[in-house]
């Protein structure tokens, strides 16, 4: 069957099955299992209402448990076993082997660099863009344009930026902007993506370019949420625009800045496509996610691959805990 047809059938079937499940399971509960009539009507209604939430959540819980909770545990187990020995338990051997690999250490080092540079630069640019565009009449158009890269895939963005970093032999017209400027300033053409360690920053630029729009949108909403009176009070107190921005506005949106920062941090930890598409980890640009993909699907070393996935999970955990604590505080 043609996949497109298969896709359309899946859409129709999937929606139909979902609605059917929810409808008939509720009917069964109310009409057959605990009917709301007869001498036990009241008790039956209460019982039905105890069960109903689980009917509503059933499919979601099933999917989440099978596709997210179980794999985390399984991956943890894989990282402690060796597939070549029939899945025998090997303790931390995979981790030890991984820690001895220079490529892994390089990935860790680069990831740390990414973790510092990308969230910081994206948030800073986002804050700048938010503050500036909020004050001009065509700000919404500007915002749209800065926000636009959000819609572009990491791979697409990689192609876009590879054109910018393109190199032509000396003497020929440079078609990459970076070299065009560089040669115009009198330099010799460079193959930028091979120059360690600066090539790492060239890859980060791609992600910063994508994430700035996200930071801008959220921070702009936060800036607009600041009570106008506090700004007006500062003006009356004689603060200049920079003081207003750094001493009045930024402190008030600090919680939002933290949220933006952590959200981008999560993206950075999982960044994979950009490195794969631009350098595939060569020339000292390896990162954890690509290292993991490499171990898992090219070397087929599930043990070390899983171990590196667990390392990513560990790096995410502090943010996970923090998010959960915030959510729980809100629920109360």
């Amino acid at each position: 069957m043609h996949p497109v047809l298969q896709g359309m059938i899946t859409v129709v079937l999937g929606v139909g099955i979902c609605i059917g499940y929810f409808y008939f399971s509720n009917q069964f509960l109310d009409k057959v299992l605990y009917p709301a009539r007869g001498p036990n009507a009241g008790r039956n209604i209460n019982r039905a209402n105890m069960i109903r939430p689980w009917l509503f959540m059933g499919p979601a819980i099933f999917v989440l448990a099978l596709y997210l909770v179980y794999p985390v545990l399984a991956t943890l187990w894989f990282s402690l076993t060796d597939r070549d020995q029939g899945g025998a338990f090997v303790g931390l051997a995979n981790y030890r082997q991984m820690a001895a690999e220079p490529k892994f250490l390089e990935a860790i080092r680069n990831n740390m660099l990414w973790l510092v540079v990308v969230p910081a630069m994206s948030t800073a640019f986002g804050l700048l863009a938010a503050q500036l565009t909020d004050r001009i009449s065509w700000g919404n158009v500007a915002k749209s344009i800065i926000f636009m890269p959000m819609a572009i895939s990491f791979v697409g963005a990689s192609v876009i930026w590879k054109l910018i970093y393109d190199t032509r032999p000396a003497g020929a017209d440079q078609i990459g902007v970076l070299n065009a400027i560089w040669t115009a300033l009198g330099g010799a053409p460079q193959t930028w993506l091979t120059i360690e360690p600066w090539n790492n920053f060239l890859l980060m630029v791609v992600l910063i370019w994508i994430q700035t729009g996200f930071a801008m949108v959220i921070l702009s909403a936060a800036l607009r949420g600041i009570p106008e009176e506090t700004v007006e009070a500062a003006i009356v107190d004689g603060a200049n625009p920079f003081q207003i921005f750094f001493k009045i506005k930024v402190p008030q949106i600090m919680p939002t800045i933290v949220v933006v920062w952590t959200t981008i941090t999560l993206v950075v930890l999982k960044v994979f496509d950009i490195v794969l598409a631009m350098t595939n980890g060569q020339w000292g640009t390896q990162v954890l996610a690509n290292y993991m993909y490499d171990r898992m699907f090219r070397a087929f070393d599930w043990g070390v691959g899983s171990a590196s996935a667990i390392v990513i999970m560990l790096l995410v955990t502090p943010i996970l805990v923090w998010n959960v604590r915030n959510a729980r505080r809100e629920m109360r």
Binding site: A36, A41, G42, I45, N46
Partner: protein, 373 residues
């Protein structure tokens, strides 16, 4: 005939926090009963328990003789008008009013007839195709009421329906509700409000709730003229009733009280000899005070502030000790009373006597204590 009967009804949250206890109340067909009380007294909770939106944790609720504790809201024969109107924003006025009937799988022409009739009654006929956001506040309120009329319920429940309207519209809508009630003499209504003017003007009976229980049930003027306890006495009427401490010095058909502040009050409330010398509070409404002149007085003191409202003048006396200032509302204009000593007295029929917080008229009455908020 009793339409709605509450027996020892109570509500506990999480097994520990008791918000209502021992509510006993009979509501007859055709009554308009108003629940009133300070915020947090549980009046909305009680209404929602009657509606079936909150589980009843103790006691029994019967509607038309049927125990409905475990019956879901839609099958109790009630309709409810919410404070925020709760109109479905994505449906037209017609669809809003038809929703319940369609859920009940009524035939289309039956639905149409019911909706049209209700719309005519509430002057909504021209608005049936509008969405709620295209209506004014008063119109939304009428749609909310119309939606309940369509269901032809045994009992209408109103949860502070006027509190979202501005002052002028509130008066107009209040009158509309009164007229609506008059046009449907057989329908029973329960109405929750914190506004005592609404309570006094609409109710056939008022239920004052306080401290998790019923403080008093009665016709509006009964509550005003013969409050059962100090709480009701002070809750109904504005400014609130003055309470002055004293001792009973004479018992019998009339009761005389010597007040700690030096005055003497005579009340038409009867008392028995056993009460001689017992400490009491007498209560006098500000509007019942009259200037005493040279004769015997109930209260005398220096006027601190006067407020001239034209038809009446309010006198605020300098407070003594930590007590609330005594307030008197005198007819007419009295320009020269500020900072003067003015003695007050009142007719014996207007002097209330409370012993242990309970009026002498109600020997079986309970005292109500309310935690300050």
């Amino acid at each position: 005939m009793t339409e709605l009967k509450l027996t020892d009804v109570g509500k506990t949250y999480g097994g520990t926090v008791e918000v209502l206890k021992d509510i006993n109340l009979d509501i007859s067909t055709g009554e308009l009963v108003v629940f009133v009380g300070p915020s947090g007294c549980g009046k909305s909770t009680l209404l929602r328990m009657i509606a079936g939106l909150e589980r009843i944790t103790a006691g029994a609720l019967e509607i038309d003789g049927v125990l409905v504790n475990d019956i879901p809201p839609a099958q109790r024969g009630i309709a409810m008008v919410f404070q925020s109107y709760a109109l479905y924003p994505h449906m037209t006025v017609y669809d809003n009013m038809a929703f319940a009937l369609r859920i009940a799988r009524k035939k289309d022409d039956e639905v149409r007839a019911a909706v049209t009739a209700a719309a005519d009654k509430l002057q909504l006929s021209g608005l049936l195709d509008r969405l709620p956001k295209e209506l004014s506040g008063g119109q939304r309120q009428r749609v909310a009421i119309g939606r309940s009329i369509v269901r032809d319920p045994k009992v209408y429940l109103f949860d502070e329906p006027l509190s979202n309207l501005d002052a002028a519209l509130r008066v107009a809508t209040r009158i509309e509700i009164a007229q609506l009630k008059e046009a449907m003499p057989d329908s029973t209504m329960i109405y929750v409000t914190h506004d005592q003017v609404e309570a006094m003007t609409l109710a056939s009976r008022i239920v004052v709730l306080a401290g998790g229980g019923i403080a008093q049930v009665g016709a509006p003027l009964t509550l005003y003229e013969r409050p059962e306890n100090e709480f009701v006495a002070q809750f109904i009427g504005s400014p609130k009733m003055n309470l002055l401490p004293g001792r009973i010095v004479q018992t019998g058909q009339q009761t005389a009280v010597e007040l700690d502040g030096g005055g003497r009050a005579v009340s038409d409330y009867p008392s028995n000899a056993a009460m001689q010398d017992s400490p009491v509070n007498i209560g006098v409404r500000p509007e019942d005070f009259v200037a005493a002149g040279e004769g015997a007085h109930i209260f005398s003191g220096e006027v601190n502030i006067t407020e001239a409202l034209g038809e009446v003048t309010l006198l605020y006396y300098t407070p003594v000790g930590g007590a609330d200032p005594v307030i008197a509302k005198l007819q007419g204009i009295h320009p020269d009373m500020k900072h003067r000593r003015v003695a007050l007295t009142a007719d014996p029929s207007k002097v209330h006597v409370f012993r242990n917080g309970v009026s002498l008229l109600y020997p079986e009455g309970r005292n109500i204590t309310v935690q300050p908020h």
